[in-house]
């Protein structure tokens, strides 16, 4: 594998992202608004519960979790489904298929530049701000390293789920409904909107066996749970790794058969 072939996409992605200065401002402002809503919502929830600790999490814990989940979402969300659907509808996908590179890789690396810029421009500032505001509520140690490993795997899992759903567009030729459904499912079951600790027990068990919690819940719990035993951390990472492999194989296989279907039946 020639890495340069792929890193050139990262480079272009960074330049591309930096072309749109205004969109950053709008995005940051939008997130701020969302976080204000989250703040008051959870403040009300804690006030009505009458106790300081709900489901083992203090108000500060919950807030840190959700702020970081939002930041993580901003840099991990790739709109792959949207992009694929649009390319399929417009027929531009033909041009991408005619590059001497697998479409899965081409699409992934096209986004990689976005990861880098989003990470530096939204996640990192948020993370630093949260650490300062909460006076060191986030433990800074070896967990940061585990967190980074976890995030990389989360990106891979997330991308493969997206790609899997995007492939469905080859058959349906419509995007909107599929995309919305995927987003709702992922955001809810991954613990990006509500911490999984708040889920009822049955749902918790179900979620535990699904790949989604590996996307947001896994990295965040590794980052925030300072007293976690190494064994627990490695179990989480192990589960992520398994999902990485399973989702990659699945999405690859589904894409391959679908593409074959298309080349035989036309599209």
């Amino acid at each position: 594998m020639n890495l340069k072939k792929y890193l050139t996409f990262t480079r272009a992605g960074i330049i591309e992202a930096l072309q749109f200065r205004l969109s950053f401002v709008v995005m940051v402002a939008g997130n701020l608004l969302y976080l204000i809503v989250v703040y008051f919502l959870w403040k009300a929830i804690y006030a009505s519960s009458g106790t300081d600790i709900v489901n083992g999490m203090t108000f500060t814990d919950t807030l840190i979790y959700l702020v970081l989940a939002t930041a993580l979402f901003n840099f991990m969300e790739m709109y792959t489904v949207w992009e694929m659907g649009r390319n399929i509808q417009s027929g531009k996908i033909v041009l991408d298929l005619l590059k001497p590179m697998e479409y899965r890789n081409l699409l992934f690396w096209s986004y990689s530049g976005g990861f880098v810029t989003q990470f530096l421009l939204t996640f990192l500032p948020t993370f630093i701000a949260v650490s300062i505001v909460t006076h060191g509520a986030i433990h800074l140690g070896i967990n940061i390293l585990y967190f980074i490993i976890s995030v990389v795997m989360a990106i891979v899992i997330n991308y493969n789920i997206d790609f899997l759903v995007g492939t469905v567009c080859l058959y349906t030729e419509s995007i909107w409904g599929i995309n919305i459904m995927k987003q709702v499912v992922v955001l809810l079951l991954s613990g990006a909107t509500v911490p999984i600790a708040f889920f009822p027990d049955t749902l918790k068990t179900v979620v535990y066996w699904l790949p989604f919690q590996s996307i947001y819940n896994a990295p965040l719990s590794i980052l925030l749970d300072a007293e976690a035993e190494p064994k627990a951390v490695f179990t989480t990472l192990g589960i992520q790794l398994v999902w990485c492999i399973v989702m990659t194989v699945l999405s690859k296989a589904f894409w391959k058969t679908s593409l074959r279907q298309i080349t035989v039946n036309g599209g």
Binding site: K5, T8, V94, L97, T263
Partner: protein, 333 residues
């Protein structure tokens, strides 16, 4: 010379759902298994050599794009065999991709938000073009077109003509053996069309690139193609030199005259006088399509002069456009 593209008895069939009309019909379609087979390309064979420019013509929906998609490897033929550079393109799309370049009229493969030079750099890395070849190609481009102002302009700010030009340059960048151009001059002004034709011609000449050109603009065909292939309803109608095509329907010329009096009434009279030939008229001219194998244009003119007062006349050679139109409408006998 060996053929770079070899197509033998290729047929491509699509399975499409029989759609029903109206709300009820649409609901029915959701569960329908009522498919029909559409034959988009029907038993087509051709062989194209390295360095040729082939005009691939046909009315809308004739099967041109389908054939091209099969040659690029996006579609797999239902039956028959396609070899591009000795390989079956659909079996090894990535390898085939290295050898071909494509421009699909309306769509661009360039990076929308980036200056053109960045798109070129990306393509350089994707196709793994050596520095030397890449620089040589850029030098060649600079000698052919005024590319400098385009290089640093984001693609989204370009005019359609500039973008098409850039897309063509991008398709040739990795020096492919074959370039497929699907309606490259669509929607462009006269001077840009001329520029693009010269560019394609020069690149073909200097790099010996095979060019497969589909177009509806006969100007493109006249300027670029020595050989044309015509396809309609999936069937191949014609595959030969362009000169041969003109003689194909006998030696036709169009005689245009302007006469005194009501043109339409005069045209009706002329129709009876020269029953062998097709006569048509508009407000300005009466046109007579003369088959010179039957009688000379001058004889026709002489005949008409006896009964009409001719004020003005023009003689037109039959254009490629007319011939193609005739083939589309009537087929090849």
């Amino acid at each position: 010379m060996a053929a770079i593209i070899e197509i033998q008895n290729v047929t491509k069939e699509f399975k499409t759902l029989n759609r029903h009309e109206g709300l009820k019909g649409s609901l029915k379609d959701l569960f329908s298994r009522d498919y029909k087979i559409v034959r988009a390309v029907d038993n087509v064979s051709m062989s194209i050599e390295q360095g040729e420019i082939v005009g691939y013509l046909g009315p809308n929906g004739a099967g041109k794009s389908t054939t091209i998609k099969m040659m690029t490897g996006v579609l797999e033929p239902t039956s028959g065999e396609i070899l591009v550079g000795g390989n079956a393109p659909y079996k090894n799309r990535s390898k085939n991709a290295q050898e071909i370049g494509v421009v699909f009229g309306q769509r661009t493969q360039l990076w929308w938000a980036l200056p053109l030079i960045e798109s070129f750099r990306l393509l350089k890395d994707i196709y793994q073009i050596p520095d030397k070849d890449y620089n040589e190609m850029l030098e060649l481009y600079k000698s052919l077109v005024d590319i400098e102002p385009l290089l640093h302009k984001p693609v989204r700010q370009m005019s359609l003509g500039q973008r098409t030009l850039s897309d063509i340059l991008a398709a040739f960048l990795h020096n492919p053996k074959i370039v497929f151009l699907d309606e490259p001059t669509i929607g462009l002004d006269v001077s840009m069309k001329a520029k693009i034709r010269t560019l394609i011609h020069e690149l073909n000449r200097q790099k010996n690139t095979t060019v497969i050109l589909t177009t509806h603009d006969m100007g493109d065909v006249d300027a670029l193609c020595r050989r044309i292939v015509i396809i309609d309803k999936g069937k191949m109608l014609y595959d030969n030199d362009i000169e041969h095509l003109k003689g194909f329907f006998g030696s036709y010329r169009t005689l245009k005259i302007r006469v005194d009096g009501d043109m339409n009434a005069e045209a009706e009279v002329i129709k009876t006088e020269v029953p062998d030939f097709k006569v048509s008229s508009d407000d300005e001219w009466i046109s007579i399509l003369v088959d010179e194998d039957k009688s000379k244009v001058l004889d026709v003119l002489g005949l008409l002069q006896k009964s009409h007062k001719i004020r003005d006349m023009q003689l037109e050679e039959i254009s490629t456009e007319d011939v193609i139109k005739k083939i589309y409408e009537e087929g090849v006998q």
